[in-house]
């Protein structure tokens, strides 16, 4: 592909975004000094796991949200509100249930003040293009998921945007439907039948990114930064089993599991925050045990290639990474260069019975999860052996947003319950050492 020296279509310059705390003060950073450019004629993918701020970045680019710092330049001017020429496709489709397919597609044209006849003609054209002929008068709830997302695409096409933003547009669809829609979209793109100059898409699906994008930007988490840029030069149509395709996928897995340089004395690196302030993912103990067992069993025998096991278990990186990293935090497994490897502890866990597993789990919670250790210590120290959940929540909120505090607390409650380290009463929101046996 030739290097073009033209002005980029869109520029994101040093954009940062902070969580806003309840008090209105700026909290933890979601995005930190992100700069990207978008050239005409390319599909760019933003790849990252949940919580890396990729959706926030897309909303900043669209003008729906203003960044805390930095700016977005489109067409030579800063984007401070939703701009003409940028349209978005949503993960949830976001169709208006009271409007027909035609009404939904015409929506954006009305806002532009386009005459009714013209709007009608253009809407029918877009509906035709995306393959929705015959469904013009159907209501969204009469359509299947794939058809609904086609309406989402038609609604975006019809305003003839220069830039199409896609927020995980296929992730709410089943595998087959998603594949068909991706292929149809790529065909339109390659054949140049879409009135669109450039596409910026958010995804957590590595294969999807490699299948569609010319450039992939890997975002690291907490705060979100551009960790790597990967050019994909494969010809369309791309095939998943093509060795070169596999090589790119493996490369991305390796990059996404690589430890951040310089900060790796402990193995907590992937969860942001240290000590009590470590944000924990909400991963069920069943799934933790399940992954350990899967890696221990044949054909992996203790060491598995992440893309391989992800495909086998039908998991996306969004689901797989937090599980693997929790196992790493608890020293049941190690993750490196796209592989997951059981430790001795992990093997012993797999071979143990339920009670022994719980014991091992409890020991490791206390040793490696500072929050769990703190809760247990507080409960032991208090004569009543009871402590309100708010005591720990407030402490967590010093380090992270309310959402993360919730998630972290829920995770530690679930793990603590499994390990029989402590009990929790949901109605009263109180931790205790009671064992309702």
């Amino acid at each position: 592909m030739l290097e073009t020296v033209t002005r980029p279509l869109l520029e994101v310059r040093h954009v940062s975004q902070n969580y806003r705390k309840g008090s209105g003060e700026a909290g933890t950073a979601v995005l930190d000094d992100v700069s990207i450019t978008l050239q005409a004629g390319e599909i760019v993918g933003l790849l990252g796991r949940s919580g890396c701020g990729k959706s926030s970045l897309l909303r900043i680019v669209s003008g729906l949200v203003r960044p805390s710092a930095g700016e977005v330049i489109y067409d030579g001017t800063p984007v401070i509100e939703p701009a003409e020429g940028i349209a978005m496709v949503f993960q949830s489709f976001a169709l208006f249930p009271w409007l027909t397919v035609l009404g939904n597609v015409e929506l954006g044209l009305q806002a532009l003040g386009i005459a009714e006849d013209e709007a009608h003609k253009r809407a029918l054209g877009a509906i035709d293009l995306i393959g929705l002929d015959g469904f013009e008068n159907a209501y969204p709830k009469e359509l299947s998921g794939g058809m609904r997302q086609r309406v989402g695409f038609a609604r975006a096409f019809v305003v003839r945007p220069n830039i199409l933003l896609m927020d995980e547009p296929f992730s709410a669809l089943d595998v087959l439907t998603a594949e068909t829609l991706r292929t149809d979209l790529l065909d339109l793109w390659v054949e140049g039948r879409m009135p669109i100059k450039s596409i910026l898409m958010v995804t957590h699906n590595i294969e999807e990114a490699v299948l569609m994008c010319d450039r992939i930007l890997i975002l690291s988490s907490n705060p979100g930064r551009v960790a790597a840029e990967i050019k994909v030069t494969l010809q369309h149509p791309r095939h998943r089993l093509d060795p070169e395709f596999r090589r790119v996928v493996d490369d991305i897995y390796a990059r996404m599991t690589r430890r951040p340089a310089g900060k790796q004395p402990a193995k907590d690196g992937h969860f942001f925050g240290l000590g009590i302030g470590m944000a924990l993912p909400n991963v069920s103990t069943n799934i933790l045990a399940g992954l350990l067992e899967a890696v221990a069993a044949a054909p992996y025998n203790g060491r598995a290639d992440l893309p391989h096991i992800a495909a086998n278990l039908q998991m996306e990186i969004d689901e797989l990474f937090p599980i693997g990293e929790t196992l790493q935090l608890l020293r049941f497994a190690e993750i490196e260069e796209g592989d997951i490897k059981l430790t001795d502890g992990g093997r012993r866990f797999v071979e143990s019975e339920v009670d022994a597993r719980k014991k091992m789990f409890a020991d490791r919670l206390v040793a490696y999860v500072p929050l769990a250790a703190l809760i247990r210590r507080v409960l032991d120290e208090r004569p009543s052996h009871r402590a309100p959940g708010s005591r720990f929540r407030e402490e967590l909120e010093d380090y992270m947003s309310e959402g993360f505090a919730d998630q972290t607390l829920n995770a530690v409650i679930a793990w603590g319950r499994y390990a029989e380290l402590f009990a929790y009463d949901e109605t009263e929101k109180v931790f205790s050492l009671e064992n309702p046996a």
Binding site: G24, P82, A94, F96, P97, W98, Q110, K141
Partner: protein, 578 residues
């Protein structure tokens, strides 16, 4: 207070700030007193007997029914106008919201019939010597029974518009006008329509009550079923009472079939849900209309025109983004001034009320009113309990049988709409004939019209109870008492509380007309705050009315806050299935 039933998002409690209520309450009572003061000065009341006398001939009944219905429609139009303005302002402005929502919440709990004397005086003063004043008073009375829960419903919908749709509207650069009509208003339709229809159902009770009012020497009899009924009572004509009951039945059937059902069925298309709903509202009228060709062709241009108006790029573009106030100090300063203003008005209201009531009444009166209110409360609570014991098992039985429920549910909704006060005279005749104790037997009138809210909400709850849980209970041999306490009652509890809350509010209102009833010159009175207010109204004793209404409102609000809402919230949190 009528609120939601089955096809609605649950009552969003968190939108109801608590600590402002006391202030809102004081402001409302203060305004009422101010209205009486102002209204008196504005003109002389209508001389008694000037309104055309009401004939008891049956042939006039259709005309009276029409007049009554027209009054209802005038009120519902006014309520809708009010709803759109009030709720939109409350949803869009943070400062307005702080005041408007608690006021609305208190108004929901205030016994509307207590207002009648104030509003009648006020409107008669506005249009001296003209029936228009009396008409306005009646319409306003119906309005006050309808508007609050409608406004609440719209406000809650506006505050809960799904975020992704909101982003689409902004992303595609819709103007504020377009966004309101394309997104916000349609999203609010199912809730608003349901509440409007419930309001209209409740409104029949008030239209009957407000067509014949005596405030002191002023007697108003507006041509309508309510006035007809009151004349029939004066003249002890039981045949005319029966005729009024039948006329009312016919009117409600027509309302139910031609309006309620078609509109609720139509509103279903605005529900935001991913699949076609399991419970399809049906309406033969809507079906008929949708199958007609000419009628639809005739109506289509109107729809198109409305669509064009909604699509116009009127007004400003949406403000780019809420970035908060550029100047935090300025914002804070305005807040402080705003708070001070609210507190000032509240203090002034308090002073006005205390001074007004205190000029005529002493602590002894307050004690008496407190005692009477407790009596009425005992009545309301025990009758609710009685209605619960009787109706919950029956409703569960009905709700678990889809075929029966299909027939019974419309009937229960119909009965809830039927104004119970129309049949009061029959009960009074019975009490007089058999020399029954009014303190006990009049009580039943309180619950007569409101028990149906419990019935149809519980039927809805039992119908929605998941079949697999019933099957699980059956396969583990859970039967009898255990089945009731562990399976079905927890399942229907949120629905029951919705119904009971509505029934409770309605019963307090009904006590004003039910504790003090007449048959010719015979008066039957029970001891209670309802009778106290009714008598004070008849005597145009305003300080007593203010005291009575205020006391009753405080009781209703406290009951709602300390009893119903916590229970409802608990049921929502622990027992909502899904």
């Amino acid at each position: 207070m009528r609120s939601t039933a089955s096809p609605l998002p649950p009552f969003a409690l968190r939108f109801v700030p608590n600590h402002w209520d006391a202030i809102a309450f004081l402001i409302i009572i203060g305004l009422l007193v101010a209205m009486v003061h102002g209204g008196r000065g504005m003109g002389e009341p209508l001389p008694a007997g000037e309104v055309a006398p009401i004939s008891l001939k049956f042939m006039y009944l259709p005309y009276f029914a029409l007049r009554t219905t027209l009054r209802m429609f005038a009120a519902i139009v006014a309520s809708l106008l009010f709803t759109f303005i009030y709720a939109t302002i409350a949803a869009k402005s943070r400062r307005a919201e702080m005041v408007l929502i608690p006021i609305l919440d208190v108004l929901q709990s205030v016994p509307v019939l207590g207002f009648l004397s104030f509003t009648v005086t006020f409107f008669l003063g506005l249009f001296p010597g003209n029936t228009l004043g009396a008409e306005c008073a009646a319409i306003f009375a119906i309005f006050t029974s309808q508007a609050w829960n409608m406004a609440f419903s719209l406000y809650q919908s506006l505050r809960t518009v799904p975020e992704d749709l909101e982003e689409v509207a902004r992303g595609f650069r819709l103007t504020a006008w377009q966004k309101f009509w394309r997104l916000e208003a349609p999203f609010a339709v199912p809730g608003l329509v349901w509440n409007t229809m419930m309001s209209m159902s409740g409104g029949w009770f008030f239209v009957v009550a407000s067509e014949a009012i005596s405030v002191g020497d002023t007697t108003i009899k507006l041509p309508g079923i309510g006035a007809y009924l009151s004349v029939a009572i004066d003249r002890r004509r039981i045949d005319a009472v029966a005729a009024a009951v039948i006329a009312m039945l016919v009117v409600i059937i027509i309302y139910d079939q031609l309006l309620f059902r078609p509109i609720v069925a139509w509103a279903a298309k605005f529900r935001v849900e991913l699949s076609v709903g399991q419970t399809q509202e049906k309406s033969w009228v809507l079906g008929l209309f949708q199958r007609t060709r000419w009628l639809r062709a005739a109506v289509a241009p109107i729809g198109e025109l409305l669509g064009k108006v909604a699509g116009m790029r009127l007004l400003w573009r949406l403000p780019a983004l809420r970035r908060g106030f550029a100047n935090k100090d300025a914002s804070l300063a305005i807040d402080v001034v705003w708070f001070a203003l609210i507190l000032g008005v509240a203090a002034w209201s308090t002073w006005l009320v205390v001074a007004y009531v205190g000029s005529a009444l002493g602590w002894g009166d307050v004690g008496e009113v407190l005692w009477l209110t407790i009596l009425t409360m005992v009545r309301v609570v025990s009758l609710l309990a009685l209605a619960t014991i009787i109706w919950v098992p029956i409703s569960v039985w009905i709700g678990l049988r889809p075929r029966v429920a299909e027939k019974a549910q419309p009937l229960a909704q119909f009965l809830a709409a039927f104004p119970a006060n129309v049949v009061f005279p029959i009960a009074v005749v019975a009490i007089l004939t058999f020399h029954l104790d009014p303190d006990i037997w009049l009580s039943f009138l309180i619950i007569f019209g409101t028990q149906w809210y419990i019935v149809f909400n519980v039927i809805a709850g039992a119908s929605a109870f998941p079949n697999d849980m019933r099957e699980a209970a059956a396969s583990f041999h859970v039967r009898g008492w255990r089945w009731w306490t562990q399976v079905i009652l927890p399942g229907i509890l949120p629905y029951y509380f919705t119904g009971a809350l509505t029934a409770s509010g309605g019963s307090w209102n009904a006590s004003i007309v039910a504790e003090y009833v007449k048959w010719g010159d015979d008066k039957v009175t029970a001891h209670g705050i309802g009778a106290y207010i009714a008598k004070a109204t008849e005597a145009a004793d305003y300080p007593r009315i203010v005291l009575g209404v205020a006391m009753m409102s405080i009781f209703v609000i406290l009951l709602n806050r300390l009893f119903w809402r916590p229970l409802y919230a608990l049921a929502e949190r622990k027992l909502r299935l899904n």
